[in-house]
Amino acid sequence: MNRYKTDILFKYLVRGASGIAVVALGAILFFVFFQGAEPFVSATAPGIRLVTEQIDAIEVNGTLYENPSTFIDIPRETRELAIRFSGGGKSRSLDITVDSGETDPDKQLVFETFGSGEISSPESYVYTLTYPGRMAGLEQKIHILLPEPPYSVFRFLGGLDWRPTYNKVYGILPMILGTILTSLGAILLGVPIALLCALFLAEFVPEKPAALIRGGIELLAGIPSVVYGFFGLMVVVPAVKQIFNVPSGNGLLSAVLILGIMILPTVTSIAETSFRAVSGTSREASLALGASKMQTAWHVVLPHARSGVITGIILGISRAVGETMAVILVAGNSAQLIRSPLDSVRTLTATIALEMGYAQGRHSLMLFSVGVVLFIMILLLNSAILYMRRRLEKEAS
């Protein structure tokens, strides 16, 4: 193959690779958003579903199902259910009217006949009819699942209760606040210390020891966050419990301390790099005007590096907001509005990681929605700070 053909081929190769990158990166947004939006736009099922246990045959409005083991879907517009079924040698019938105008899901069904069955409602949007007479586990049961209507975004974002299992209430305000509080606390704790440290390293520590310290700090920036969580659970949590004499040291304060420590190296090393990047000529100009080194550091180096400092803070915030496992280990994870800094808190990320394995149905989709909220929060935060930075830069040029 001659070199001109290779040249052209390579051009297409790099384009292809970039295409793959766009698709891969775009797919994330698409899929997560797609799943996350679902609970708010569609009901969990088109109509009522029946699930049976220990029933050999069942006839619903004239259609016969034998040995059903999967859902029996009733058409959406059906308002009357005439059910006949047999099992364990007996035949029974059941008539139900659906009052779709009723808003309380527990009152939506009116049972006209249900024989000797017992009606219970083990969880919202579910009725269970149990026909006793046989040993437990072999009782005949019919579960009637009502479709859950699309969830209100406002109840999701503004709701104070997160009771996904039985009540099917999905309010994430406590988690949003939990995320904000832990990150804010970590930033307030970590950033000033990190900036002071970085400025000192960049301006006052001779190159050799500074390089050594910098190496150490970079190392710490790379340590897996689980290690910090581990340290938190071993040392910080018991210490908090001891010092404040509370039932449990798991809570906001421990989370803030651990996150604060975790962002220290990140913010320090980025800020230090940007302090060092401030041109020598600005520093010289200040010194040549009779300013002291300290004055130069605070009045010239710090303001001139603000764009880099902001980048460092953004990364710090991203790390704090996005941190999952370390927080789970120390925060206590109760989805409550906290009243004291020692209370147990739960963050958005913790909710996802804790419950993803246990969630099903809408609960699982809701965790994707939590992911979308997290994404939007980060996006807003980053764009706000980037906007600020751009304005600063514009002012400067």
Partner: protein
């Protein structure tokens, strides 16, 4: 006419005092940072010392060892790099050497910018949905590797781009002015010079994968067995540490947890040192060329 001499205060005592106080505050901050971080390292190292032995390194999970986890970690790291590096490097080459300012390029840059900053657990959600469920890989090393490779793509693209950007245009111009094609220029002049930077980016990405936990938990799983293939699920070292931490009860468990933490830290030290050596060589080499 103003005489600055007469109006500018001459007394510098206050200034010197402020300078000194600030100096001590800042030195205190440094001491605090070094102290806290040093304490963490020392504490973990101290507690881990008695447990870092061959039995621990080469034992199975039920023997209190970490071999299966180490192997899983290696699989995950290797597979994610194999998937991500070619795409990442070629994309970086595209962005630095070919891309103009078309709409597509702007979308690509936006995607990279945005995705570099989002929490890793979102990658986990995505991987769980797409690779584990839709594509049917289940929780497995391959699902995790696919997920993590997308997660490190922005890292690789950005760092490689940086590395390529440090190659002065004069090298490219030199090559082009000798009648070389663009591909020849990239292949023989740009990439060799950028290689250490690219290796650095790979190592950085590797560090990120080694240290990652939430998306790994969601996509690779937590099975403690020695994986037989990349289609098995497994448990990486970070997840092992997470579980050990969560579930440690007796001193033995703590010891193992500390030792696992120490192994992770040692890995990071190795990765950092490698990055450092390579990038400083890189700088030296380029320094000579400039």
């Amino acid at each position: 006419m103003i005489k600055p001499k007469n109006i500018i205060p001459k007394d510098r005592k206050n200034q010197r005092l402020t300078d000194r106080v600030l100096w001590w505050i800042m030195a205190g901050a440094v001491a605090l940072v070094i102290g806290v971080l040093g304490f963490i390292l020392a504490y973990i190292a101290g507690q881990a010392l008695g447990h870092l032995n061959l039995g621990f390194l080469l034992g199975s999970a039920s023997q209190g060892g970490i071999l299966p986890m180490a192997v899983t970690t290696v699989y995950v790291v290797a597979a994610s790099l194999i998937l991500a590096l070619p795409v990442g490097i070629l994309t970086a080459v595209f962005l630095t050497e070919y891309a103009g300012d078309s709409r597509g390029v702007r979308i690509l840059r936006l995607a990279i910018e945005t995705l570099a900053g989002i929490p890793s657990i979102l990658y986990g959600l995505f991987g769980l949905l797409v690779f584990c469920r839709i594509l049917g890989f289940g929780q497995s090393i391959i699902a995790g590797a696919c997920t993590l490779s997308i997660m490190i793509l922005p890292v690789i693209i950005r760092t490689t781009e940086e590395a390529i950007k440090t190659i002065p245009d004069s090298f490219r111009e030199g090559s082009l002015s000798l009648g070389a094609t663009k591909f020849q220029t990239i292949r023989h002049v740009v990439l060799p010079s950028a290689l250490p930077g690219i290796v650095t980016s790979a190592i950085l990405a590797m560090g990120r994968v080694v240290g990652e936990s939430a998306p790994v938990l969601l996509t690779v799983g937590i099975a403690k067995n020695m994986p037989r293939s990349i289609f098995d699920s497994g448990r990486t070292l970070t997840i092992q540490l997470y579980y050990l931490t969560k579930e440690a009860i007796n001193p033995e468990d703590f010891g193992i947890a500390f030792a696992t933490a120490a192994v992770l830290i040692i890995l990071v030290v190795i990765i950092n040192t490698a990055t450092r050596i390579i990038s400083s060589n890189f700088r030296k080499k380029l320094g000579g060329g400039l």
